[in-house]
């Protein structure tokens, strides 16, 4: 019996989608297009974890929409909010945050700031469920994203009891809940990018136990030429080389699609945008594909 192919039916989006991928795979463009696509069904929030705010800038260039808000998240701001929460006396919490010693200790506790960022994502997803909205996160590249998503487990190991332990358990539940949290891995049809995505999907299912993972296969092209056609161009070596490269790129995209599906991932294929300017139209193209790849609620 054939395995059911999840990519054929549209995927049901969770409340919050965390978009990551290898550098250069087009992660920010995918996050921006996804937020745009979802905002056509329900109000949506795009949160940038990347200090450059690339996804938000792309959305701004595409024009304003009332259904779409953007938000920048920084680990430092989350740490400050957390300290103010557990140390309600403002004068003391301020003093703590200003103290260099405190800075050293948080630096020596890697993961605390990252963990608080995750806790914030949990709260954002909770608000999204209450207000019937979607949230899209333009997350760091794969390596850092894996560290970030794993940090709740680490905190639980470090804090056997107390506030952080309770929060960490809640964050782990959140990450595992396919209605509230999902990861989209942005993949380009290249060896390293594909391998990294497959490794990441495996890792995400195991230790942070992510319940919803899909792949956005970006820069997918059709082979356009057959091997016989490439051979027929022998008299025009420069054209033959280009045709062969296009054929190889098309095949690589098909192979990547197969490998991702075999790994049990839903795949949304996004085309290479051959346009002189990747602007509003480029974003619209990706957005259209994503709309079709995600089911109506």
């Amino acid at each position: 019996m054939r395995k059911p192919s999840p990519s054929v039916r549209p995927l049901t989006p969770p409340r919050l989608i965390f978009v990551t991928g290898k550098g250069g795979a087009g992660k920010s463009a995918v996050a921006a297009a996804l937020a745009l696509a979802l905002s056509r069904r329900r109000p949506a929030t795009l949160a940038d974890l990347d200090r450059r705010g690339s996804a938000a800038a792309m959305l701004a260039a595409a024009g304003k929409s009332d259904a779409l808000e953007t938000l920048a998240l920084t680990p430092r701001a989350e740490l400050e909010a957390f300290i103010h929460r557990i140390v309600p006396l403002r004068s003391i919490s301020q003093r703590m945050l200003r103290s260099r010693t405190f800075g050293y200790v948080t630096a020596a506790l890697p993961g605390l700031e990252a963990f608080l960022l995750l806790e914030r994502l949990r709260l954002i997803a909770g608000t999204a469920a209450l207000e019937d909205r979607y949230a899209v996160i333009d997350a760091p590249a794969t390596g850092h994203a894996l560290e970030l998503l794993n940090v709740a487990g680490g905190i639980r190991g470090l804090a056997p009891a107390g506030t952080l332990n309770r929060l960490a358990a809640a964050v782990e539940d959140f990450i595992a809940d396919p209605n509230r949290f999902g990861v989209i891995l942005t993949v380009s049809p290249e060896e390293l990018s594909l391998r990294e995505a497959l490794d990441a999907a495996r890792a995400l299912r195991e230790t942070p136990r992510v319940g919803w993972i899909a792949a956005a296969l970006n820069f997918a092209t059709a082979p356009l030429f057959s091997a016989a056609e490439v051979a027929a161009l022998a008299a025009f070596p420069a054209h033959a080389r280009l045709a062969e490269a296009r054929m190889r790129a098309g095949r690589a995209a098909a192979d990547a699609r197969r490998a991702l599906r075999d790994a049990g991932l839903g795949v949304i294929e996004l085309p290479m945008v051959f346009a002189a300017d990747f602007d509003h139209a480029g974003l619209e193209t990706l957005c259209g594909r994503l709309e079709r790849g995600l089911s109506q609620p």
């Binding site: 290898k22 250069g24 450059r52 557990i86 003093r95 200790v105 890697p110 952080l164 056609e229 990747f278």
Partner: protein
């Protein structure tokens, strides 16, 4: 390297070439290509790669588990006398452990640190550790008696120059004042501590209890164990800074011909300046080679009409991408910081999988 076109970079006199840049621009490939090229020109080159693609590892003859310098066979290549290439893959955890072993004041302190849960967290989880360890590995390589020229690939930097700031951050973490403050047991604190420090310490204790971390004691132990090594670390950080500012060091910022990446590259150059470091070049990787003549296809009688139509549509697709790339490069030309050379390396049209592929990429490196 005696190719006249890039003499402005004075590559023959360099002792160190550092490639920096955002993720996904082909930094590792370009570093390897450059290293091979310089080796073939007669230098003794050691190249350190970070997270190379499996095929690039194959091309360099490295195995996944290798974390020390391995000779790369240049036998089949056209090399000048004196040519030597060695490659290694950075393994941050191993470098960190080695560093602790070297600087620990005693075997007991070493074991205590290696077993410490704060250290294990720090060495496994902290993103900055990979940056620091790349720097540490660089120092190890540069102090080898037979070092001639080192080509250094670095971990991808998101927005800041994490790699270059790493030694400074490590020093701040181990700053002697914090070491003393945290390292001192209970009432044994001496020295000029402000009320703020004392308050911070008290509040940290409360923080520890409320959060359930109970880590303060561990951090204190860690810092105390580390304090014996502080001098060693400070010396290493200073040496690394000196090496990067040496006139024989060339810093190359790598990007691709995309608007976003080019903006990042220019930000990198500015951030380098703030650290009192100078980028010698911006290298744009994977630049599209010029498109062949479309008229050739239109005139060819032997090509079936359907294939001709496909070729024309393909050329139109590529022309659109070329226009996009051209606009990005024109913007870069206009914004190029003074004193920074601009280099292009051509797209190979496939992923490099052999030394010959790397040599081919290196041959395309040219000034813009």
């Amino acid at each position: 390297m005696n190719r006249p076109e890039i003499t402005a970079l004075a590559l023959a006199d360099r002792r160190l070439v550092v490639c920096l840049g955002p993720g996904g621009v082909g930094k590792t490939t370009l570093s390897a290509a450059l290293a091979l090229h310089l080796a073939l020109g007669g230098r003794g080159v050691d190249v350190m790669t970070v997270d190379p693609a499996p095929r690039l590892l194959d091309a360099l003859g490295l195995r996944v588990e290798d974390s020390s310098l391995q000779p790369v066979g240049l036998g089949a290549m056209d090399a000048r006398s004196g040519a030597r290439l060695r490659a290694l893959k950075l393994d941050p955890k191993r470098v960190f452990d080695r560093l602790i072993e070297r600087h620990a004041p005693s075997a007991a302190a070493r074991d205590a640190i290696l077993a410490d849960r704060v250290y294990r967290n720090l060495s496994n989880a902290l993103a900055g550790v990979a940056d620091y360890m790349a720097m540490e590995q660089l120092l190890e390589l540069s102090r080898a008696p037979d070092a001639d020229l080192i080509v250094l690939d670095t971990p991808p930097a998101a927005e800041a120059l994490d790699f270059l700031g790493a030694p400074r951050r490590m020093l701040e973490l181990l700053d002697s004042r914090a070491v003393t403050l945290l390292g001192a047991a209970g009432g044994a604190m001496r020295g000029p501590f402000s009320m703020l420090d004392l308050a911070a310490r008290a509040v940290l204790g409360a923080f520890d209890r409320v959060t359930g971390l109970r880590l303060l004691g561990d951090v204190r132990n860690f810092v105390r164990n580390f304090s014996g090594m502080y001098a060693g670390f400070a010396e290493r950080a200073a040496a690394a800074g000196e090496l990067l500012r040496d006139p024989r060091t060339l810093i190359v910022v790598v990007a691709t011909a995309e608007r976003e990446r080019i903006a990042q590259a220019i930000e990198f150059v500015a951030a380098l300046n703030e650290l009192d470091l100078k980028a010698g070049a911006i290298a744009i990787n994977r630049v599209r080679p010029p498109l062949p003549d479309a008229g050739e296809i239109a005139r060819a009688r032997k090509i079936p009409a359907s294939l001709r139509a496909k070729l024309q549509s393909h050329l139109a697709d590529l022309a659109a991408l070329e226009t996009r790339e051209r606009a990005a490069l024109d913007a870069l030309h206009a914004a190029l910081p003074q004193g920074v050379e601009l280099l292009y390396a051509a797209d190979l049209g496939r992923e490099p999988r052999s030394l010959a592929d790397l040599a081919e990429i290196a041959k395309t490196i040219r000034p813009a």
